[in-house]
């Protein structure tokens, strides 16, 4: 029963997405056929822009010996999967760069914060004290970015975060903070528009976890949805039993549920939400966009929509293949964003820049397309171009659906 209901919505959405697909990418798109996860009903994945700046550059980079960039973020901590997906993107970029540019061999230094704010401060200080490091990709999480941002600011060391989405991060006056993707203030309203207009939902329940990410994103979504919000609930990290929350949702009978949080809790939540035959559409953000979610929700993930300020990587043929070869897995959430952020720093080094100040200046004035989007930052360190995509779980795969913002 419930599955039928959701499938019907899916069909409607699919038709809508066909029409949307045309305008999403402007003129430069071509339906990618025969690609890894192509889906006729969905918007085509963007190809790598023909003018995208890649790490290899033109192979004429010249820089001093011993210059390095750093990845700082979780490598072996509890949310390690996210960190490693980014790190592999960074590694790939550095590898491609060094292969192409004999005149500029950049070292990548990796620092493990375990994702926790208090570990981060010692590790970050260590990185700052290493004078060879001219730029940093990191930190992935909003909490640790909060804790460490001031240090980077004081040291004048540029950071490009490939995944921290808390909007407040750019409001601290840290002139070294740059964000390599859209923040929650972009994803939230985009998701709300998608729920309200594309899905046509008139009543929505917003559930969030207790992370700063979940709370902040839920707030954005609630504000954008306005009166359509009929219930709000909060769950805890590591909670696995949701019957009371589900009961509240069931009583409200919403057209759609937005879950702001991570996949660990989203999977049992989705399963328990649909176990009782509830007919509603579940929409979740980038923190849920992981294969772990699909597998762990045992069937309940089918038809779930996932919003993400990340751009589908399956259209970036070369990147996709090279990444898969290097990492042994396909690119995951924010792998391409990590790759792009690294590219920006590598370009700076190829120019022969040798001080942090120069690199910072270079990033501030950067204006060029990358794989995922165009990179140009405003004075707060926010991108001017922030695409948000929606994906959907179909036959156990996360497939792109359309661009929504």
């Amino acid at each position: 029963m419930s599955k039928n209901g959701r499938l019907r919505i899916l069909a409607v959405a699919a038709t809508a997405s066909l029409t949307l697909a045309g305008c999403a990418q402007g003129g430069n798109e071509e339906p990618a056929e025969g690609g890894a996860a192509t889906n006729d009903s969905a918007a085509a994945a963007p190809d790598a822009p023909t003018d995208a700046v890649l790490p290899a550059g033109d192979g004429t980079g010249e820089c001093e010996d011993g210059v390095s960039i750093a990845y700082i973020g979780t490598i072996a901590g509890q949310n390690a999967a996210l960190g490693v997906a980014i790190l592999n993107g960074v590694r790939l970029a550095v590898e491609e760069h060094n292969e192409a540019n004999a005149g500029c061999q950049v070292t990548l230094k990796e620092f493990d914060t375990e994702g926790s704010p208090d570990r981060a401060s010692g590790v970050v200080t260590q990185a700052i004290n290493d004078d060879s490091i001219l730029g940093v990709v990191g930190l992935p999480f909003s909490g640790e970015s909060d804790a460490a941002g001031q240090s980077f600011h004081e040291a004048g060391l540029v950071t490009i975060s490939p995944s921290a989405t808390d909007p407040a991060l750019s409001q601290n006056g840290w002139d070294t903070f740059f964000r390599g993707l859209g923040n929650d203030a972009q994803q939230g309203p985009a998701a709300a528009t998608f729920i309200g207009e594309d899905l046509g939902a008139e009543s929505v329940c917003v559930v969030n976890d207790d992370s700063s990410y979940g709370i902040g994103l839920a707030r954005e979504v609630r504000e954008a949805l306005g009166d359509a919000v009929v219930c709000t609930e909060e769950v805890k990290t590591n909670q696995r039993e949701f019957s009371a929350v589900v009961g509240t949702i069931e009583a409200s009978g919403p057209d759609a549920v937005f879950y702001a949080g991570y996949y660990t809790e989203a999977a049992p939540f989705a399963q328990q939400l649909f176990a009782r035959g509830l007919q509603t559409t579940l929409v979740a953000p980038d923190g849920v966009r992981d294969d772990q979610f699909v597998q762990n929700a045992v069937g309940a993930a089918e038809g779930v929509y996932l919003t993400c300020p990340c751009v589908p990587a399956d259209g970036f043929g070369d990147f996709f293949d090279a990444f898969t070869e290097l990492a042994g897995t396909e690119p995951s959430t924010y792998s391409a964003e990590g790759y792009d952020a690294t590219t920006v720093l590598l370009r700076a080094l190829d120019e022969g820049l040798s001080t942090r100040e120069e690199v910072l200046e270079y990033v501030r004035d950067y204006d060029a397309p990358g794989l995922t989007k165009h990179f140009k930052w405003d004075e707060d360190g926010e991108l001017t171009d922030t695409p948000v995509w929606v994906y959907q779980v179909e036959d156990g795969e996360i497939v792109r659906d359309r661009e929504i913002g």
Partner: protein, 383 residues
């Protein structure tokens, strides 16, 4: 000459810790100072001993690692007052640490509605005062319980402190407070002394706090209060029968422990400049406890040692860090089986000064079956 013979003759039987203590007590005051002063100087000079194998680099900044170690040492000394001195097993000590950190955050972060430009010293004083009051609030109802019941209730309170930080919007949950104020002071070139990045001033400040706390706690131990704690730890019923107001002294132990935990929390928050609810869970509490037990609860030198092992090892060995809880867990089991009193236990000390104190207070010799400082009266609950 003969004394020397005697000592070497019995050396095989006397435990190592006791031999060290005998040797120490045998020294003249002058000799003791001649050892203490260089040791203290060495401790202050630690940041400059930044070379292999002591250093924690390149994994993490050595000076900050020193500060973090010192911070855990301070916590362990505070928890030792509760667990080691008074014999109250507290599994929620992290709650006091959290309260100290949150007071600092509420007073000095611009994210807080209570923000104002308070002098930093006032923050320390308020932080300690608030944790002491919370010690009374938590201690008064719970300290009538005994043994493992007390342990579980304190665990519950510790978790509730964390969950309140999570649930009360004014405490900002996981989002936390940013840009906390740091102690005042500038170098001659106009830059701030206390920054997030430079561990040395923080380390020195914490070491100074540790020395002050050690002196205070040492005096307390030798006072009537300390004797009462020993009596309560050894046999609460007997102590009560002999007219020791056990409840009041237990609350005192709790409050003093809380104050030290709060101080440590204020320092932690100041250095990090950021406070959220992530680091105040049961695991952290158990880690603190592990420091005390590992070193030998009741023995100050022991718990300092234990804290250093627990805080410094993971900083030193990045590779080992994922194994650390496994190693702690196994170490706790093995240690409890072979040395229930910890690396340097309090047992021997009890036989000297503690036993006299006990006698004076309770009027009967200490129970002979006492093998550990954490003897339980055998009853689950008190009145």
């Amino acid at each position: 000459m003969s004394a020397h013979h005697f000592r070497s003759g019995t050396a095989t039987k006397v435990p190592f810790g006791q031999r060290i203590r005998d040797w120490w007590n045998g020294l003249s005051r002058f000799h003791q100072w001649a050892i203490i002063i260089p040791v203290v100087v060495l401790v202050y000079l630690m940041p400059f001993l930044n070379f292999f194998p002591i250093t924690t680099e390149p994994g993490t900044d050595f000076e900050l690692a020193l500060f973090n170690t010192a911070r855990i040492v301070l916590i362990a000394i505070g928890l030792n007052v509760v667990v080691g001195q008074a014999g109250l097993l507290d599994l929620g000590y992290v709650g006091f640490f959290a309260i100290g950190a949150y007071v600092a955050a509420l007073m000095t972060s611009r994210d807080s509605a209570l923000y104002a430009e308070y002098p930093w010293l006032l923050v320390v004083v308020v932080g300690i005062a608030v944790t002491m009051v919370s010690g009374v609030i938590i201690g008064t109802p719970t300290l009538r319980l005994r043994g493992d019941y007390l342990a579980i209730v304190t665990l519950g309170f510790g978790e509730i402190v964390r969950l309140l930080a999570d649930n009360i919007p004014a405490l900002r949950g996981n989002v936390g407070f940013r840009n906390l104020e740091r102690p005042p002071g500038e170098w001659s070139d106009g830059t701030r002394i206390f920054t997030q990045g430079d561990g040395i001033p923080w380390y020195w400040l914490t070491v100074t706090a540790i020395i002050a706390v050690l002196i205070l706690v040492g005096n307390l131990e030798r006072s009537r209060v300390g004797r009462a704690w020993v009596a309560i730890r050894e046999d609460e019923d007997a102590a009560e029968i002999m007219g020791v107001p056990t409840f009041r002294f237990k609350v005192w132990a709790f409050v003093i422990g809380a104050a030290i935990g709060g101080l440590s929390g204020v320092l932690y928050a100041g250095q990090l400049g950021f406070v959220n609810n992530a680091r105040f869970d049961v695991v952290t509490s158990v880690l603190f406890l592990a420091a005390v037990i590992l070193g030998g609860s009741g023995n100050k030198v022991g718990v300092i040692l234990g804290a250093i092992v627990i805080a410094y090892t993971p900083e030193r060995f990045q590779v080992v860090s994922e194994y650390r809880y496994l190693i702690f867990g196994l170490a706790l089991i093995v240690l409890m089986i072979f040395r229930p009193q910890g690396l340097l236990g309090a047992r021997q000390r009890l036989l000297a000064r503690g036993r006299q104190a006990y006698k004076r207070l309770v009027g009967k010799p200490e129970p002979v079956s006492t093998e550990s400082p954490m003897k339980d009266s055998g009853k689950g609950t008190g009145a």
